[in-house]
């Protein structure tokens, strides 16, 4: 499903954010990428949804080399992905509902369908009672759950999450990863970047360890 061949990324000489990364994540796998801060986890994730272009290497998703997709067609790749960002990236001037529905809005989903799907996604993260609130009125943890709801609302084939539990208490963190696990059971490939060892130990099917941009080991 997701294949990386000898991927290198350099932002600034002489440092390599990613050095010769080759890996495969199969369809329906539940995968953690872990490692210390600055090890290249976020960069690796960003190369998968092509926010960052690798310096060398190839990335194949569902049999397609995503580096060859022209810029104006990249939206087709991203429509199959749900992405949860470390900094949430919410629309603070829009309501909770609109933040989730924006993913469906760009696809041209009919209003009734959009309402239904947005409500289901918000119920999954237990935010359905805050549907008309603004994100600024939500707690940090609730904002994170909102970001997750936006990522899962369209039943993506791939779910990428960068530190999705970074600001949650252990109980809620467990709940969120259990939610990801549920989504994964429905066939979605899930890749999560985290350094929460407890979560990795409890949920980890496949674990990739990164250190200074190098893939140290796969478990």
């Amino acid at each position: 499903m997701i294949e990386l061949y000898r991927v290198w990324k350099q932002y600034q000489k002489p440092y390599w954010a990613l050095s010769d990364i080759s890996l495969t994540v199969k369809k329906g796998e539940f995968c953690f990428i872990t490692g210390p801060s600055g090890s290249g986890k976020t960069t690796l994730l960003k190369t998968i949804f092509r926010e960052v272009f690798p310096t060398y290497g190839q990335i194949i998703i569902a049999g397609k080399n995503i580096l060859r997709i022209p810029n104006h067609k990249i939206y087709l790749l991203r429509r199959n992905m749900g992405i949860v960002f470390q900094d949430f990236r919410l629309l603070f001037h829009k309501r909770v509902f609109d933040n989730v529905a924006i993913t469906l809005q760009v696809l041209g989903t009919p209003l009734r369908e959009m309402k239904r799907k947005a409500f289901i996604a918000l119920r999954m993260v237990n935010l359905h009672h805050r549907i008309w609130d603004y994100p600024t009125h939500l707690s940090y943890g609730e904002q994170q759950r909102l970001a997750i709801a936006r990522a899962i609302v369209n039943n993506p084939r791939i779910l990428l999450a960068d530190e999705p539990t970074g600001n949650l208490d252990p109980e809620l963190a467990f709940e969120i990863i259990s939610l990801f696990k549920e989504i994964n059971k429905q066939g979605t490939t899930v890749i999560i970047c985290t350094h929460d060892k407890e979560l990795i130990r409890h949920f980890g099917d496949k674990i990739l360890f990164l250190h200074e941009g190098k893939l140290l080991r796969k478990e």
Binding site: E51, H72, I83, I102, P110
Partner: protein, 301 residues
């Protein structure tokens, strides 16, 4: 709701939100656009008036033959016959010196005192000859006038075709000045819209980023910005039309009377329907192009 209407609704909501969110800078750009188009509009309506007057004059093209005073009836009839014989003339009318004075005082009431101080009527009697409707060759008219001037009973001849032509050139000049000055200001508006949209793009950079990452097409991201620029352009030009209308109504009341007879020339005639439509479309195009130029340079998608 059908997806297409839903998208339109989304775009309109976005445009209204954004216009409201950055209202100060948007109001500033609308004002600049309005002033630019107002300049064009003012000169267009001056030109309209001059063209109207020129048309009025050409429809009543006439030659006025001023007569020497103290002519007897026989001499008058001779001149009248001589004029009537010309194939260029449609009709002829005798204007006595009393009638001429009356007309003069009606047109220039402020000069009544000067006229009253004079011992006698200074205005000569005349024949007003109206030319036939089809425009005759000017050289034929001029040669007819030259022939008439040989008649000792005629003191002077006034032919107002020159006036009609002068009015028409003045009208063209006013139009050209309007387009020149307006053009410069419209160019300035273009840059202002472009910069306003640039600021709006920067202010919404994070939103654009999110839209990109959830799979928006470039068009979906661009449309609200383009609509925003176009709306600013249309709002500015509509406002300029409204101001021009007020100017049209108020000018004769406040300034018109002090201009006396000149009021007929220096006056506004409101734009025609097509001119108004062109002005609004001009505003829309300036707004659209301003946004486009800004998006192509600053919206990284």
């Amino acid at each position: 709701m059908r997806p297409i209407f839903q998208k339109i609704k989304y775009f309109l909501e976005e445009v209204l939100n954004n216009l409201w969110q950055f209202k100060t800078r948007n109001a500033f750009s609308v004002t600049i656009i309005c002033l630019s188009f107002l300049i064009v509009g003012i000169f267009l309506s001056l030109s309209n008036n001059l063209r109207f007057r020129a048309r009025e004059l050409s429809q009543n093209l006439s030659i006025v033959f001023f007569l020497h005073q103290d002519l007897n009836q026989e001499e008058l009839s001779l001149v009248e016959r001589q004029i009537k014989q010309s194939p260029l003339i449609a009709r002829i009318r005798y204007v006595s010196s009393e009638e001429a004075l009356e007309k003069f005082l009606k047109n220039f009431p402020e000069l009544r005192e000067i006229v009253d101080n004079l011992k006698s009527n200074p205005l000569p009697s005349s024949f007003e000859a109206t030319l036939k409707e089809e425009p005759a060759d000017t050289s034929r008219i001029l040669s007819f006038i030259a022939d008439m001037k040989k008649n000792a009973a005629i003191e002077d001849v006034q032919f107002n075709r020159e006036w009609a032509e002068k009015m028409q050139s003045l009208s063209r000049l006013a139009e050209a000045i309007g387009f020149f000055l307006g053009g410069i200001l419209i160019l300035a508006s273009f840059f202002i819209i472009s910069n306003v949209i640039k600021l709006n793009v920067f202010a919404r950079q994070s939103e654009v980023e999110i839209l990109r990452l959830v799979g928006s097409t470039n068009t979906f991201i661009r449309i609200p910005f383009l609509l925003e620029g176009t709306t600013l352009g249309i709002a500015g030009s509509l406002l300029s039309l409204l101001l021009l209308y007020l100017l049209n109504k108020l000018f004769p009341v406040y300034l018109g009377t002090s201009l006396g007879a000149l009021q007929e020339i220096i006056s506004f005639r409101y734009l025609s329907f097509y001119q108004a439509v062109y002005l609004i479309s001009g505003g829309a195009v300036v707004g659209l192009l301003g946004s486009l130029s800004s998006l192509s340079r600053f919206l990284r998608i």
